[in-house]
């Protein structure tokens, strides 16, 4: 039967016609390809009905061939965000009800009540919306394969959000396992535009037996970017997150639009701006809300409902509202502070004017001066249609061993057969037999050094030839640990009188004493006491309070944007006629030029400053924070070859600072040698080994691989006797098992994720062709000041510990 004349398509077309809409060409195309047995990837911006492309494709196919679909689960819908699922399920349920299909659509994720989960386990719905983590939790259940044998299609929604991180690997593994249960499974990805769509498709669909297609929506969103400038440049600080005077500029924007989303980059800033806006215009109370990942779920749901209904006038939020539901009333987006990447900026802008034919409108509010250069760079990148790539992760052994234990907790696995399947997956296509053996060894015997230990029985080889977990306690511990999102240690915040407010990082709360006040969820709270990983608080009468800092969520500038940033800064001394941001900045840029220098595109600036803090060396490669972390360690390493020295290192997206208590032996004679491109990679390897970078990367690896048990906020039973830190385990493994694959992975991740050899080579190539300008400044310059105030610092030293202590003592130290 011809698909165009099929009954299924007729029903859907009629249904849409009744609602007064017609399918977009890409939707029709998806339905047809699905009917022809294809797997594939749909590329479409949000707001164009991408959900209904794949979902209705399955519905139509079912309507045409109901006999091909057994009872039970038919479509699995995996999306990265829990909050998306609820509304998607609603939309899907409406659709199947309208067309009179007797399907059930249900959600299953961490928020799903136990009773509902038990019910699902007895009888799965026809469509299940879930997350990668919940898929793995399902695989850890006994006899889980029975749920998935009849699944015909798995859809991966917002694939672009998953591909660049370990949750993407979890997804790849989940798909592989589903294919094992249901060999004829069709796999469909849905993604927004990213720089490497071909890669994205290949990572999702590496299987040669599939017919694969890609469908791209032609529709494009019209976008207006409006940067909001203060009345005078002095209003903006050089650094930091303030620019509170910009409040007066934000209020009129809120007033003149129906509903405004105000994006900030961190939860701390969201709290801060919420207070600033309320103080400036108290009658916004009740109409202005705050939304971020640490706020109670119930409150977040309430806020989301009230954005949708148009009741709220404005919401201050973080990336928590980047994705998700279509909020129809939102007609304006304000971005406060740099957004650090082209793709994210466009995504946020797309939250306004959500219907396909409206324009998106985004206001950019700089919080410090240099961000004006960033917005100028951003506009240029968008004009040139440059969107970042999201590089898939490979050989993540932490995720692999977790998955192996997950299967062992569930139905058990056969080593040879699983190895063959794992090798098909993009992330593990280059895994060797030896590495696989190591993983088996790791989960059965704990690694090479543990050969003789009787007490290690994590996974055992059962009589039937399958690897299994037999201990209930280990199963329980493992299930708690499934996933690849490693958060800071969090504490629940509750009123002492009862009532949950949200979560806060232990790191922050541990610095407070009872009686101190802080801000959460827009409320000023007084800490009463800490008990069982819960901070008990009461309302505070204080007018002012510290707003919490969350360590997580600091985003690095992407390489794309940094490239444009370099060009724009060098233009800034002679800004073009239309570049109002750069023209506005001119006084500040001139000041930098007067006191130091503005690097032209063929120059590389180095600044040296001496203050009471010590001796500072600043370099400005403009390569983004991640690359600067490696770059700075390399410079510290090369300088330490000249003299025994200790550095503390700070970096941001523009450059980095090496700070030492001793004079830094760098001058015009040796600076070019220090920046030499020769021996680059050897020195980089040596500097990574000497620095703390790998140890930091190991933090996530240790948790994902189950070496560190995370305490569960708010629970009394938090496995206290199993507490240790990843730093401790990192050192132990360095001492006793240096060839441990998870340890090696930490070093590889520094390489793959931060450094991108090619890019660093290019940077040094560029620098070697540039004129190096070394300036001694008397005080901090507009470029160096932001680095001075940055609080995230690392250390690198090649001095003897005792010698360091000796000198610190002579300098009259402080103790904490």
């Amino acid at each position: 039967m011809n698909f165009r004349d099929s009954e299924g398509l007729r029903i859907i077309n009629n249904w849409m016609a009744e609602k007064g809409i017609a399918p977009f060409p890409f939707q029709l195309q998806t339905w047809q390809r699905y009917a022809n047995g294809y797997s594939g990837m749909v590329v479409a911006p949000t707001g164009f009905g991408k959900t209904f492309s794949v979902f209705l494709g399955v519905v139509i196919d079912y309507l045409n061939h109901p006999e091909k679909y057994p009872k039970g689960l038919k479509l699995l819908w995996i999306s990265p965000l829990r909050s998306l699922a609820k509304d998607l399920a609603k939309a899907m349920t409406e659709a199947v009800d309208d067309i009179g299909l007797d399907w059930t659509v249900q959600v299953r994720n961490g928020d799903t009540p136990t009773a509902v989960r038990r019910k699902q386990e007895r009888m799965m719905p026809d469509v299940l919306l879930t997350t990668p983590e919940t898929m793995h939790l399902l695989f850890s259940q006994k006899k889980n394969s029975r749920w998935f044998k009849g699944v015909r299609c798995v859809a991966i929604d917002e694939w672009h959000e998953l591909i660049g991180n370990k949750r993407g690997v979890l997804t790849e593994l989940a798909i592989s396992q589903l294919r094992y249960y249901s060999p004829k499974l069709r796999i469909w990805g849905i993604t927004a535009t990213i720089g490497n769509l071909e890669d994205a498709k290949h990572v999702l669909l590496p299987y040669s037996d599939l017919n694969i297609t890609q469908i791209t929506a032609k529709q494009r969103k019209k976008l207006d970017i409006i940067s909001v400038l203060p009345d005078e440049i002095e209003v903006l600080p050089w650094a930091g997150h303030l620019g509170a005077k910009m409040v007066d500029k934000i209020l009129p924007i809120i007033a003149s639009n129906t509903t405004t989303l105000i994006f900030t980059n961190t939860r701390g800033q969201a709290e801060l701006w919420y207070q600033l806006l309320l103080n400036a215009q108290p009658d916004l109370a009740g109409l202005l809300a705050i939304h971020h990942g640490s706020i109670d779920k119930k409150l977040r749901n309430w806020i989301e409902d009230n954005i949708a209904s148009g009741y709220l006038k404005a919401v201050v939020c973080t990336s928590s509202l980047d994705l998700g539901v279509d909020f129809k009333p939102v007609d304006c987006v304000i971005q406060i502070g740099s957004v650090k990447g082209v793709a994210r900026f466009m995504q946020r802008a797309g939250r306004s004017g959500h219907s396909p034919f409206e324009r998106s409108k985004i206001y950019f509010i700089p919080t410090h001066s240099l961000e004006l250069v960033e917005v100028s760079a951003l506009k240029e990148a968008i004009k040139n249609k440059q969107v970042e790539s999201r590089d898939p992760m490979v050989l993540t052994f932490d995720v692999l061993v977790q998955f192996m234990v997950t299967l062992a907790v569930g139905e058990g696995f056969d080593s040879e057969k699983l190895f063959a399947r794992i090798k098909e997956i993009h992330a593990f296509q280059y895994i060797t037999k030896d590495e696989w053996q190591w993983c088996i060894q790791f989960i059965t015997k704990g690694g090479k050094t543990l050969n003789s230990y009787e007490e290690f029985h994590k996974v055992i080889l059962d009589e039937d030839g399958l690897y299994k977990v037999k201990s209930r306690r280990i199963s329980m511990l493992h299930r708690m640990n499934i996933g690849a999102i490693v958060s800071e240690v969090n504490m629940m915040v509750k009123y002492i009188s009862g009532g949950y407010i949200g979560m806060i990082e232990e790191f922050f709360i541990s610095k407070l004493k009872p009686g101190d006040s802080f801000i959460l969820a827009g409320r000023i709270l007084e800490l009463v006491q800490i008990k069982d990983m819960t901070a008990l608080v009461r309302r505070s009468k204080a007018k002012k309070a510290v707003s919490p800092s969350w360590l997580g969520g600091r985003l690095p500038l992407t390489s794309h944007l940094s490239h444009y940033l370099r060009l724009k800064l060098s233009d800034a001394l002679q800004p073009g006629r239309l570049e109002k941001e750069l023209r506005f900045l001119n006084p500040l840029i001139s000041r930098q030029d007067e006191h130091s220098h503005i690097p032209k595109s063929d120059e590389f600036l180095v600044e040296m400053i001496e203050t009471k803090d010590g001796h500072h060396l600043f370099m400005y490669p403009f390569e983004g924070r991640l690359v600067h972390e490696v770059f700075s360690a390399l410079m510290a390493y090369r300088i330490s070859k000249l003299k025994q020295i200790t550095f503390t290192i700070a970096m941001n997206d523009y450059g980095f600072e090496l700070l030492s208590d001793q004079p830094i032996p760098v001058d015009a004679n040796n600076i070019e040698a220090l920046l030499r491109k020769e021996n680059l990679m050897d020195d980089v390897v040596a500097s990574i080994n000497a620095s703390e970078m790998a140890s930091r990367k190991f933090r996530d690896i240790a948790v994902i691989a189950g070496l560190v048990v995370q305490s569960q906020p708010g629970t009394r039973k938090n496995n206290k006797s199993l507490q240790s830190s990843s730093g401790l385990i990192f050192r132990v493994l360095e001492d006793y098992e240096p060839d441990n694959l998870l340890l090696r992975q930490a070093y590889t991740e520094v390489f793959n994720q931060q450094l991108e050899e090619a890019r660093l080579q290019q940077a040094f190539e560029r620098i070697s062709k540039s004129k190096v300008i070394l300036k001694h400044a008397k005080s901090f310059t507009p470029l160096s000041f932001p680095l001075k105030v940055d609080s995230l610092r690392g250390t690198m030293s090649n001095e003897k510990l005792d010698k360091r202590i000796q000198r610190i003592k002579e300098q009259a130290f402080k103790i904490e």
């Binding site: 007490e455 493992h478 503390t648 006797s721 098992e737 005792d802 202590i805 130290f813």
Partner: protein, 215 residues
């Protein structure tokens, strides 16, 4: 291994602090330490977390060197001798103990010490809730005491954060000493450091592998 010492006087008694996480009280010929957490690595392994047992060996070797160095007659463990359940590390410890037949072991019971008395008997360890030998009281958890008594305790795994010029920061284990108490660092190397809750007016003696010094 290098033993570096610092002599201090507490309540007119000579006490030697070492950089190896134990102190020696000359009058009683007693080596005193806290929080050795034997069985911790095996406890982790039993729960599916592979931790090499070289750590225990290293701790026991250090302890042996200390006992021989001072020719100690008494060993006071101020709590948390064992980490959790009975496991294979205890056998290792028992075997290790046989080389010190004349050593007198006293355990001041810590929050982790949930072993049966029979096992302690078997190991020849005297268990007490607290031990009083003029002018000191040994107990596991430090307490705010206003009495004219000097307590020696452990439990908190004390550490100190040192800040130097150029925003340098160093975290080191330490002894904390006030007019009426001394808090011992954790003996085991498989422990974390707690740099918070330093008692009021405490002097900290921090140490490295090769030095010990007062802050």
């Amino acid at each position: 291994m290098q033993i570096v010492t610092e002599h201090i006087t507490l309540k007119n008694e000579d006490v030697i602090l070492t950089n190896q996480r134990a102190i020696y009280w000359e009058r009683e010929e007693a080596l005193i330490l806290s929080d050795i957490h034997i069985g911790k690595t095996a406890h982790f392994r039993r729960h599916g977390i592979p931790i090499p047992d070289g750590i225990l060996q290293k701790d026991l070797n250090r302890l042996k060197e200390l006992i021989l160095h001072f020719n100690a007659k008494e060993l006071f463990i101020v709590g948390d001798l064992f980490h959790a359940e009975t496991n294979s590390d205890m056998a290792t410890f028992k075997q290790w103990l046989t080389q010190f037949e004349d050593l007198n072991l006293v355990l001041i019971k810590g929050n982790h010490d949930t072993q049966s008395l029979r096992l302690m008997d078997d190991l020849g360890i005297v268990v007490m809730a607290q031990l009083e030998i003029e002018p000191f009281i040994f107990l596991h958890e430090p307490m705010d005491n206003t009495l004219n008594l000097f307590t020696i305790s452990g439990h908190t795994h004390p550490g100190v954060l040192i800040k130097g010029r150029g925003k340098q920061k160093l975290k080191l284990p330490c002894y904390q000493v006030t007019v009426n108490q001394l808090i011992l660092p954790a003996f085991s190397l498989f422990t974390g450091l707690n740099t918070r809750n330093i008692p009021k007016d405490a002097s900290c003696y921090a140490f490295t592998d090769t030095s010990i010094f007062k802050l």
